[in-house]
């Protein structure tokens, strides 16, 4: 069961470790300033000097990708936290209270889930204005529906456990029972799901940035980097492909680690 016996998981963990360093201290990895031109070599192909080549302003693309991790991932993490908190509170309350409250709120959740996530995020971005924060909120709201459903199902299961009834007969107050018995025993599947949602959120955030709703130039952001390379696809395809490959690798790595949290192989 050790991590060494599962090479796939090991690689995924290494990728995430590098990404974590890129988020906390990008200057340790990035060889150049992400905003400044490095010499006169515009649209230079990948080389030992410039791993991902240079863009039309002669900036080092690898450095921009490394520095972009901070923006992209913090938006994705924020999105998951927003979805987790909103969804869990809704699921916890509706599951525990039950009755008509449960019925009415869960119908709203059904509507929320019926709207495609990216469309929902676009609506939020359109009403709150462009920027990584509104993207995060939009993507988070899109995920909140599924979080609410899972949390509610867990709460319904745990609420029927005898120790919850026993706690009430011991004279423990309702909110305390909810916080001390129901929530901890319902949390594990939610945590596993949050990890899975993180991979989706990275994709959604990148997609919205690609469309130009997120970080504005010259700030480096993964989706925006892919988008910026579009104009040169014929002459310098690495400008789009390599940042895209990084997004793909990180999403796969997050997925793999998330599955191991959930207990799959």
């Amino acid at each position: 069961m050790t991590i060494l016996r599962r090479p796939g998981l090991l690689v995924a963990a290494l990728v995430l470790a590098v990404v974590a360093v890129a988020v906390v201290a990008p200057q340790l990895i990035a060889p150049y300033d992400p905003f400044a031109s490095v010499g006169s070599a515009r649209l230079a192909p990948p080389s030992a000097e410039h791993l991902f080549g240079t863009d039309h302003l002669a900036r080092d693309v690898f450095s921009r990708v490394v520095h972009g991790a901070q923006l992209s991932l913090s938006a994705a993490v924020l999105a998951v936290i927003a979805g987790l908190v909103i969804g869990s509170v809704v699921g916890l309350v509706t599951g525990y209270v039950g009755g008509p409250v449960d019925f009415v709120i869960m119908r709203f959740v059904d509507v929320l889930i019926a709207i495609p996530g990216i469309l929902l995020a676009l609506i939020v971005v359109a009403s709150l204005g462009f920027g990584p924060l509104s993207i995060a909120l939009g993507v988070g709201l899109g995920a909140a529906g599924s979080f609410a459903r899972i949390m509610r199902a867990q709460v319904l299961r745990v609420r029927a456990e005898e120790y919850v009834e026993a706690a009430r007969t011991l004279g423990v107050r309702g909110p305390v029972v909810l916080a001390r018995h129901v929530l901890p025993n319902a949390a594990r599947p939610i945590i596993a799901m949050a990890a899975m949602e993180l991979a989706l959120a990275i994709l959604s955030v990148s997609a919205l940035s690609f469309l130009g709703f997120g970080a504005q130039p010259p700030a480096p952001e993964w989706g925006a980097l892919v988008s910026a390379g579009r104009d040169f696809v014929a002459t310098a395809p690495w400008l789009s492909l390599l940042p895209g490959a990084v997004i793909l690798a990180v999403v796969l790595a997050v997925n793999s680690v998330a599955r191991s949290i959930r207990g799959d192989r």
Binding site: A167, T169, L170, G171
Partner: protein
Amino acid sequence: MTALLTVRGLRVDYGTGRGAHPAVRGVDFEVNAGEIVAVVGESGSGKSTIAHALMRLLPVEAHIRGGEIRFDGTDLRTASTAALRRVRGARIGFVPQDPSHSLNPLLRVGEQIAESLRRHQGLSRPDAAARAVEIIAEVGVPDAARRAGQYPHELSGGLRQRILIGIAWACEPDLVIADEPTSALDATVQRHVLDRMQALAAAHGTAVLLVTHDLAVAADRADRIVVVHHGEIVESGRAGDVLAAPQHEYTRRLVDAAPGLHSGRLRPSVGVASRTAVPDAAPLLDVRGLGKTYGTGDRAVAAVDGVGFAVPRGSTFSLVGESGSGKSTTARMVARIIEPDTGTVLLDGRDITGVRGGALRQLRRRIQVVYQNPFGSLDPRMTVARLIAEPLRAFGTGRAETQATVRDLLDQVRLAPELLTRRPAQLSGGQRQRVAIARALALRPELVVLDEPVSALDVSVQEQVLQLLVDLQAEHGLTYLFISHDLGVIRQISDRVAVMRGGRILEEGSMDEVFHSPAHDYTRELIGSIPGRHVAEPAASGAQVVRD
């Protein structure tokens, strides 16, 4: 004559290498054709492992390390898988412990019997189906043709266990291994199922290996008894001899523990300070006309219908009945867990039926509940210390005082302080129930509602927990409302008892009155269902005497 089954030096380990834990350490026994042999022991003694090892149906982490299992000339330990398949089901039947999980929920029960007949006896589909109906009738299921077409969830636990017995006997095996076949059943149902099994064994000349934790059941049913302790056989012999003159100290403990084998209420242990209050005129608990109906209109079912009784302070009042008799519903209404439709509950003369909100929470200080399943009623994520402290924290007791109280409570339920940091999964069933009792006593309640508190425990552990309850009652002057399906258990703890059936109280009286002059046929049936009674009181039960 050679025995049908001969086991020599059987050893089974759980795990491998240095982590290996021996579960069975070299046991020898034999079963002759047509003989009923009981393997008796507590949970963890290795008795079930023996039963499963005989058919090589052990969990993956268990390994047979040595020995010989000779069944009618073949060594099953070394037999090929194909040879084993021909033996299993056809020549050795198996009755599993849990009737609710051992049948395929998606297949009609008749088909589940027919499957075995087609596989082993080569019957055609219609022949097998017809024979399955005959078998269902033979195991004592009324209306067999209709039942054969039903799914497991449509049958009660007792009927499901009969179907499993039918499957075991379907191919007329030489040997049936029954692993705790009735432990999950009510006392009355247990008796009927065991009667049927014994009759089948006699009619077909089948040998039976009966695995049980209840020495009284073994005494009633078996020709010979094998007592297992820590994976070794400590004693074996004819049933009557083992019971009359147990040689090993462990067997003596089992004999003492079996509720059916000795009568009368347990007395507080020597050295327990008795603070029993003087019985006063006004009862602590007075229940009047309590009723609860589930469903509406034509589908309404009265779970409890006009139940009334009074419990004097410091005494134990018991409700006895089978599943669905309304005894648990009554207890839950008294404890104010569910709302009664009609009637009143008076505690110390005050009507508590309509108490709500904060006042209801304060009432919890006076009424506490101990549940049947000590695993389900303890939050698996909490340590023992936190579990016992929870009611104290709920009522705002200070940290230092809480710690001292928790230690004191742990001592009172005779648990070592090292257990404070354990979680429920790391405790035995008896230890868990002691934790649940300690928690219930934390707030110094007056009334404790005990809903089948020992039904999930081994007989020997049952007795220890009952003794603890009797001691605590004497020490603190507690009043108990005790719920059980087992009159044998109730006899050990009760002052008064009410027999419930179909939501009503059939009769009520002191323990002696109900036992010695039962007014109702149903009560007589309950008394007759206590295992081991024939051994303990041969004179009272008339014709039935110990076999051999």
